[in-house]
């Protein structure tokens, strides 16, 4: 199974009975507030262009009302776009016939929901087999595969419980097992962890990261939590009022916030866990000094290693072990505590 990238191109969504009539006006600069006041239509998404990496985790972040849940529903077309295309493996999801779309949803996508959306009258096992059941997989086979995933998400022994008998975190594990049992290339997670306690949330993030290491699915993860986004995302897109404000890796966003809005967002972030050593290293002058630190290590880990080894100097090495830059403990600490602002970048 090879997962493909998802390309979202020029996607517009205008909610309302005659949304299509206003696309051109919106393209020419009609604002969200004006559209709502004058014409009674709500601008959901505006000119979204994102390419979601194949086999990676794409995080779409934004506050409520930013259009992030609307965007994820375009990927399996639970919502029809007003204009634009969503390409997967060269096919535009938005132009599929009803039958093709159903097959696409059955075999290519699986979804995890914020409020779990489990079937209350079915046990954990019966919920988990749902995707395979509607595909028409034989009962013995689907139960075998479901049990395997139930065990993988840590719910072995709960197969015959009903969702109401489980805690929120356990219910979402069922949601995840149900999605994984489908064995689809695309995993859509709509604020999947937002309803969980902080500790359980971190726990579930670890479950996802561990699974992703071997599964390499194309994951689209929606969240309003920047820490979650930075921890999970190979790539992050930040949405505001239905528009992409910035997209890039977590480090790019933290170091180069595109505007005031994102600056405010990233101010509280623990930069030591986001920024890599090669980002702040100084060019090598003369021989490499101190201990070697691998490229791609985050500052916090580097500082910990250096403190443990009682060293104030280090050098960064690439995959082949060649030194590529110099590092000092004071430089690391000053990068960890200095907030980046939009103005500082501009200056």
């Amino acid at each position: 199974m090879v997962s493909h990238a998802i390309e979202v191109r020029n996607l517009y969504k205008i909610f309302g009975p005659r949304g299509g009539d206003y696309v051109d006006a919106v393209k020419n600069g009609l604002g969200k507030a004006e559209l709502n006041q004058k014409y009674g239509h709500v601008l959901g998404l505006r000119d979204i262009n994102i390419s979601m990496p194949a086999g990676g985790i794409m995080v779409v972040m934004g506050l409520s009302g930013s259009g992030k849940s609307t965007l994820i529903r375009h990927i399996n077309r639970l919502i029809d776009p007003t204009a634009g295309e969503v390409l997967y493996d060269g096919v535009d999801v938005c132009k599929m016939s009803e039958n093709d779309l159903r097959e696409f949803r059955r075999h290519k996508t699986a979804m995890v929901f914020q409020k779990f959306a489990l079937l209350p009258h079915r046990t954990v096992l019966e919920n988990t087999v749902y995707g395979l059941e509607i595909q028409g997989v034989a009962q013995a086979e689907r139960e075998k595969r479901a049990r395997q995933w139930i065990a993988r998400v840590g719910l072995a022994g709960f197969e015959n419980h009903y969702p109401n008998q489980l805690s929120g975190g356990m219910q979402q594990r069922v949601g995840l097992a149900r999605a994984l049992t489908n064995d689809a290339d695309i995993l859509l997670m709509d604020e999947a962890y937002s309803a969980l306690d902080p500790l359980i949330r971190v726990d579930m993030q670890t479950v996802l990261l561990d699974l992703q290491k071997e599964l390499k699915k194309t994951v689209v993860f929606i969240t309003h939590d920047l820490d979650e986004a930075l921890r999970l995302g190979d790539k992050i897109a930040i949405l505001r009022d239905g528009m992409v404000v910035q997209q890039g890796t977590g480090q790019e966003i933290v170091l180069n916030p595109a505007d005031e809005y994102i600056t405010a967002f990233v101010k509280e972030v623990n930069r030591g866990r986001v920024v890599n050593v090669e980002t702040i290293m100084a060019p090598l002058s003369g021989n490499p000094e101190g201990m070697p630190i691998a490229k791609g290590t985050v500052l916090e880990m580097a500082a910990r290693a250096m403190t443990a080894a009682n060293q104030t100097l280090a050098h960064v090495v690439d995959e082949a072990g060649r030194p590529i830059g110099a590092l000092s403990l004071s430089a690391i600490i000053s990068s960890m505590v200095t907030p980046t602002s939009h103005e500082a970048q501009a200056a």
């Binding site: 097959e103 979804m111 959306a117 079937l119 209350p120 749902y130 509607i134």
Partner: protein, 303 residues
């Protein structure tokens, strides 16, 4: 104010109705038209309702001519396995014994057969209509006023066309009862399906369910408590209506009540009335307990 009429033109005082002659003419045309229509299709209509007649007769004979212990045991078994409640089962046994001792056993069996058939037909007709209504707002806006008419029209009034079409007997009674009892079935099926959690439906969609799969796996099971309430209402309304239907020839307890009304037999009226109440309570408690048992999975809530 009465004096005011002398000063005003006549049509402001007395409502200007059509003349008696023209109303009479129109009435005659409609009545005669309807009668001749019925007369020309009488054979087809009879053939269509014949299966109902057979089914009803068969069930009635089965209930009346089987030895009473068998019926009683079967009844208690259904009540027990439906409700899993020993109190309801004992209550059923006691009330059936009381009915038997008062000499109302056969009449009760006739009524029971009637109510069973009526409920079955109401469910078979009602659930599909309810589903259609839930799937389409247009169907709903068309069916709702029809149901309003069916529920508010005095039942005696629609006995008239029913009798004109089907004559006097059990089948017209059955049809009248079904017309009266089916609206809650339709309404509550519709309501139950419309109340199904949107999130769960969205999940079913996201996994690629077809319309039928969604109906079977999600909508019907989640609407079941409401549908069960509809079945319960339908049974209660059938029981109420069998008394009225006795006016067009349905036998059983209703006929006794009708005779008691005509002859002012106070005791007979009340005994038969109480027998109906007893059956109603048995049906109601059993179907409610059964409905609750189906929802067992939602009872345990994790803290």
């Amino acid at each position: 104010m009465a004096g005011l009429c002398e000063l005003l033109p006549g049509f402001l005082c007395k409502f200007p109705a059509f003349s008696d002659a023209s109303i009479r003419g129109a009435r005659k045309v409609i009545d005669d038209g309807f009668k001749s229509l019925v007369r020309s299709y009488v054979n087809i209509i009879d053939a269509m309702v014949q299966p109902l007649q057979w089914f009803l007769n068969y069930l009635e004979r089965l209930f009346v001519s089987s030895p009473w212990p068998i019926i009683l045991i079967a009844m208690l078994a259904i009540v027990y396995f439906g409700s899993r409640n020993i109190k309801i089962t004992v209550g059923t046994a006691l009330s059936m014994f009381a009915i038997g001792l008062l000499g109302l056993w056969n009449d009760t069996m006739v009524t029971l057969a009637m109510v069973t058939v009526c409920t079955l037909i109401a469910v078979i007709v009602g659930i599909p209509i309810g589903i259609l209504m839930a799937r389409s707002d247009r169907v709903q806006s068309f069916v709702n006023p029809v149901l309003d008419v069916m529920q508010t029209m005095p039942s005696f009034v629609y006995l008239i066309p029913v009798v004109m079409i089907f004559g006097i007997g059990k089948v017209p009674g059955l049809i009248a009862v079904v017309i009266y009892a089916v609206p809650p079935m339709i309404r509550l099926t519709n309501l139950g399906i419309r109340l199904v959690d949107k999130e769960v439906l969205e999940a079913a969609d996201a996994f690629g369910s077809s319309g039928w799969q969604k109906l079977r796996n999600v909508q019907m099971p989640l609407a079941l408590p409401t549908i069960m309430a509809g079945i319960n209402q339908t049974i209660m309304m059938s029981l109420a209506m069998v008394v009225v239907a006795s006016m067009v020839g349905v036998g059983g307890l209703g006929k006794n009540v009708l005779q008691a009304i005509n002859n002012q037999f106070f005791t007979v009226g009340f005994l038969n009335g109480f027998a109906l109440v007893a059956i109603a309570i048995i049906f109601d408690r059993t179907s409610q307990a059964y409905g609750k048992r189906l929802q067992k999975h939602s009872e345990v809530i994790h803290g």
